[in-house]
């Protein structure tokens, strides 16, 4: 871990301004991913802006019926919120399927969105990685790739996004609210928040330098039956091989987002028209253009079968 200076921010705008002022500054909230990476010098901020003191830890109703989730709401509190449990079950389920009790007590809503990949080659600083060191090459391609992306990947990167929460938020079409150093705010639909790797896998979100997440908003409840089905090797405390977030209506229509398959939460709205016809055509459309490796080709089958299981439960 490189030495860094440390300050506690007093307002979101001040935090954003401090970040713009200090080259190499990073915000720290829960810290559960950032510190992990700092220990390995995958992240090496010169300055840390502790945002934990900001009053962004409320979950508030929106006038038109949705919820506004403060950026610093801890994963435990978001999952336990009665409104989330009742109206956004897919989100509560996704949060509870992720990490462990200890991590969920610390990890924040914004931090969860900003998690970096768990690709082992990204984590091993002796190995080239375009995400860690742009232009150095991708050592995962041709290596051990059982966990890696099957769709949306590039010649530069085949990493996946590790979040469960973000998959559910994608299914819910959440919106990320931010503030920039100049005080300007914007609302970023989650579909546009995470990026595919392309030629620049080190750029993972559409956030600008210093831009600070203040909240995530959810539209009014979608109703229906909500599922988050996470498939993993061990029963808990493990990243997904494949996960399916689904909001299914009685008439067989619905929304589906996938985790564990791409560099971002994977959702293809156009494919959802196939849902009433069943998992096979729906997943064929969702994963159209998939380019799995020998190690992870099973994910395509697994995603389809997992969706089939979810659809059966939704019908039942």
């Amino acid at each position: 871990m490189k030495p860094f200076t440390y300050e506690r921010a007093r307002s979101p705008a001040e935090a954003a301004a401090a970040a713009a002022r200090q080259p190499g500054a990073k915000f720290i909230a829960g810290g559960t991913n950032l510190l992990d990476l700092m220990k390995l010098q995958i992240e090496a901020p010169a300055h840390l802006i502790d945002v934990n003191g900001l009053a962004l830890d409320k979950i508030e109703p929106m006038p038109e019926g949705g919820l506004r989730i403060g950026a610093l709401v801890r994963n435990t509190d978001l999952a336990a919120d009665q409104r989330v449990r009742r109206d956004y079950g897919v989100l509560s389920r996704a949060l509870l399927a992720g990490a462990s009790g200890q991590l969920r007590n610390k990890a924040t809503t914004a931090g969860n969105l900003l998690q970096r990949t768990r690709c082992p080659y990204f984590y091993d600083t002796a190995q080239p990685c375009n995400k860690r060191q742009p232009g150095s090459g991708c050592s995962a391609i041709g290596g051990v790739t059982r966990q890696h992306a099957v769709i949306g990947s590039s010649e530069a990167c085949i990493a996946t996004h590790p979040s469960d929460m973000a998959i559910a938020m994608r299914a819910l079409d959440a919106v990320v609210e931010t503030v920039k150093a100049d005080g300007a705010t914007r609302r970023i639909p989650i579909a546009e928040f995470h990026r595919l790797p392309g030629e620049t896998p080190h750029i993972e979100t559409s956030l600008e330098a210093g831009e600070f997440i203040t909240a995530v908003t959810l539209s009014p409840p979608l109703g229906g039956r909500q599922f988050y089905r996470k498939v993993r090797d061990r029963a808990s405390y493990a990243f997904a091989l494949v996960s399916v977030a689904a909001v299914m209506q009685r008439d067989g229509t619905g929304r589906v987002a996938l985790g564990g398959v791409a560099h971002k939460p994977w959702r293809v709205e156009a494919a959802e028209a196939e849902l009433p016809r069943g998992a096979k055509p729906a997943m064929a459309a969702i994963l159209d253009g998939a380019r799995p490796t020998d190690d992870n080709a099973f994910k395509v089958t697994l995603a389809e079968r997992t969706l089939a299981s979810v659809l059966a439960e939704a019908r039942g």
């Binding site: 871990m1 030495p3 860094f4 200076t5 440390y6 720290i28 829960g30 810290g31 559960t32 510190l35 992990d36 220990k39 840390l48 502790d50 934990n52 435990t76 999952a79 336990a80 009665q82 449990r85 009742r86 079950g89 509560s92 389920r93 509870l96 399927a97 990490a99 462990s100 009790g101 200890q102 991590l103 007590n105 610390k106 029963a235 808990s236 405390y237």
Partner: protein, 169 residues
Amino acid sequence: MSKVSLRVNGEVRNLELDTRTTLLDALREHLQLTGSKKGCDHGQCGACTVMVEGRRIYSCLTLAVMHEGDAVTTIEGLGQPGNLHPMQAAFVKHDGYQCGYCTPGQICASVAMLEEIKAGVPSHATADLTAPSQLTAEEIRERMSGNICRCGAYSNIVDAITEVAGRPA
């Protein structure tokens, strides 16, 4: 260097630390409270679990300077030889440990975990998200899954926790 004041096991401890010092290293190296263990230093094992303001966290994945004024409870604060916390006594009775290295983390996690159930926090094992949490073996196992025990004392740990929680093992 940065000053930080922690309330550790009820006692105010003033420290001047390298900002890079994790809460775990502050406890182990600076306060010489070595009951909290370093198994991985990356939030992957649970041996460093402590309670901060009553909530269990991994002390390896947080900086000490981020906890100004916070109340930290470590295994040393729960009980001592001759004055065991009921959970510590139950671990001894049910042989809920072997090498002992994950044990303080398991015990801190289990004490805080029972409070989480009481507070109505659901888990992945909770069948109905809109119903109150139940205290079942399956719930305990899921909620304790952030604490790895390579010696494999899990079955005994669940018995110990179940006893403390007031249900027959």
